[in-house]
């Protein structure tokens, strides 16, 4: 009898593990086998579907851009400074990752709604109305997705050898020059990974968006919202949109595999 060097799992464990794999796989197979491949093009050119595709692209990219503009400075402050209350800030940043998005939507509404904490002044003084607008959808997605960017970029900054920044300083570079010419290029992998995760999360956002921005076709109805609506009237459209989101997820997963899932 040949002896095995690699240990085999006990039979009960193997069965349960296999069940888990089946549990993950079957829904994807179900989606793929019901896909109306021949009518896919027609389904995707349906006005509702087309609007949803366009809006999702705009909102998710907008949310990712917002994450860059606000999240990068925040990540730097968290990673590089000794500001008091840093731990509290980090906890606050992480909150949207564990908070049910629907709750996030309610909170956004109470803060930025027309009679909200901040929203009333935005409306009265500046005439800016966020809820039930495309900007509102972008905000809702950013609220839920930005933490991914902050976390990944902060980790990237922390693992960056400080000596490069010190070397830049001894060569006469000021803080911003060092950041632009040394720090940013060296944390580029983290920026890309953080942006990809943020974008993917924003693309799938449902709860906060529907509560804060509503479900207006062409205005705030992104792909996940359209899937929800179409499921009841136009199954083909819902499946087509689902396939698009599945494909995007797979692409993000594959592009990040070296970083997150080393072999």
């Amino acid at each position: 009898m040949r002896r095995r060097t690699r240990s085999r799992p006990p039979i009960a464990v193997a069965i349960l593990a296999a069940l888990a794999v089946v549990f993950f796989t079957v829904p994807v197979v179900g989606l793929l086998q019901r896909a109306p491949w021949s009518e896919l093009i027609d389904d995707l050119t349906d006005p509702v579907v087309r609007d949803a595709l366009r809006l999702s692209l705009v909102c998710s990219l907008g949310a990712t851009a917002l994450a860059f503009v606000l999240g990068l400075p925040l990540a730097w402050v968290l990673a590089r400074t000794q500001v008091p209350g840093r731990r509290v800030v980090r906890a606050l940043v992480l909150l949207p990752m564990v908070l049910p998005p629907v709750v996030g939507g309610v909170a956004l509404l109470l803060a930025f709604g027309r009679r909200g904490l901040v929203g009333q002044y935005l409306d009265d003084w500046l005439g800016i109305r966020l809820p039930f607008t495309t900007w509102g959808a972008i905000l809702a997605e950013a609220f839920v997705a930005m933490p991914f960017f902050v976390i990944v970029v902060e980790a990237g900054l922390r693992s960056l050898d400080r000596r490069y920044e010190e070397a830049a300083a001894t060569l006469g570079a000021r803080g911003f020059t060092t950041f632009r010419r040394v720090v940013l290029p060296l944390i580029a992998p983290s920026l890309v990974a953080g942006a990809a995760l943020t974008w993917a999360r924003a693309l799938g956002e449902f709860g906060a968006t529907i509560l804060f921005a509503g479900n207006l076709q062409g205005e705030t109805q992104t792909m996940p919202l359209a899937i929800f609506v179409e499921l009841q009237t136009n199954l083909g459209g819902a499946i087509a949109l689902s396939l698009v989101l599945l494909a995007v997820s797979v692409v993000v997963l594959v592009s990040l595999r070296d970083r997150w899932f080393p072999a």
């Binding site: 010190e166 300083a169 001894t170 060569l171 006469g172």
Partner: protein, 350 residues
Amino acid sequence: MSLEARVGVRLGTLALDVAIEARPGETVVLLGPNGAGKTTVLRVIAGLLALDEGHVAVDGHALDDPAKGVWIPTERRPISYVFQDHALFPHLSALENVAFGLRARGVRRRDAARRSREWLDRVGMADNAAARPSALSGGQAQRVALARALVLEPRVLLLDEPLSALDASTRVDTRRELRRRLEAHEGARVVVTHDPVDAMTLGERVVVLEAGRVVQAGRLAELRERPRSRYVADLVGVNLYRGTADGQRIRLADRGELVAASHARGEVFAVVHPRAVALHRREPEGTPRNVLAGTVDHLDVEGDRVRVIVAGAVPVTAEVTPAAVAELELTAGAAVWASIKATEITAYPA
């Protein structure tokens, strides 16, 4: 082009208090064991760490002086720093690395590239201008790092363990080459090293640091002739004793006695070169005034010489030829007598 500093810093358990001075065109070597605070001194001079006490001045201009509230940040100091392991920017080519400082100081792209190329040429790296640091050998990376520091024509050049990242085969050549390049630089130089050979090759003056304090400073020949601490004696490879002299007799601090040819009085150091120590397997008779009984602790082979470390009432290290080791059958544990002529013992006030 001169540096003058007194560095007082508390870092954890290390309390650093070091005065250092370097004149234009002079290389001062900071020598000391790991953890003595050598790198901290460089970091303070460069402004990567702030002083708690003391001052740093270049050409008489204060850069850091807590008592007067003076603080010039790193990027505005006329000082270049060659880091241990070089810290070349991994995402930039050799040329871009050298040009970085010029660009940061507002030199136009074209001029920066031209001057950087000249410096790469000067350090013999013109052919590797487009190479990324990861493609360079340790010696090549060091030359690029040196060019990156020197292209800015700093008044003070700091080098942290410039030779430690190199393997033994290239070290000898690089050491000589580095000395030549340092001599071509008009400003003051401070080199940190833990290697006495590096110190000897690179520097004119040596400041020995132990646990944050200067234990001895001077030319290397002085250190060799008159070491003032166990560390320095070990570094230059001589036997050092401390005791009280009364005429020719020196009563050692631990136990035992040595007899010197010269007269002295009071607290003294006595130094004996291992080459002046003769070993015998039987108690010697005749002229030597000092005979120390002991056993061989261990033997270190150094080139064509063997250092025999003898343990006994008065421990002593002797340097003999391999032939003598074989003839005397010296092995660890062997009983030996070490004899030293009185004329070979140099005593000087402690």
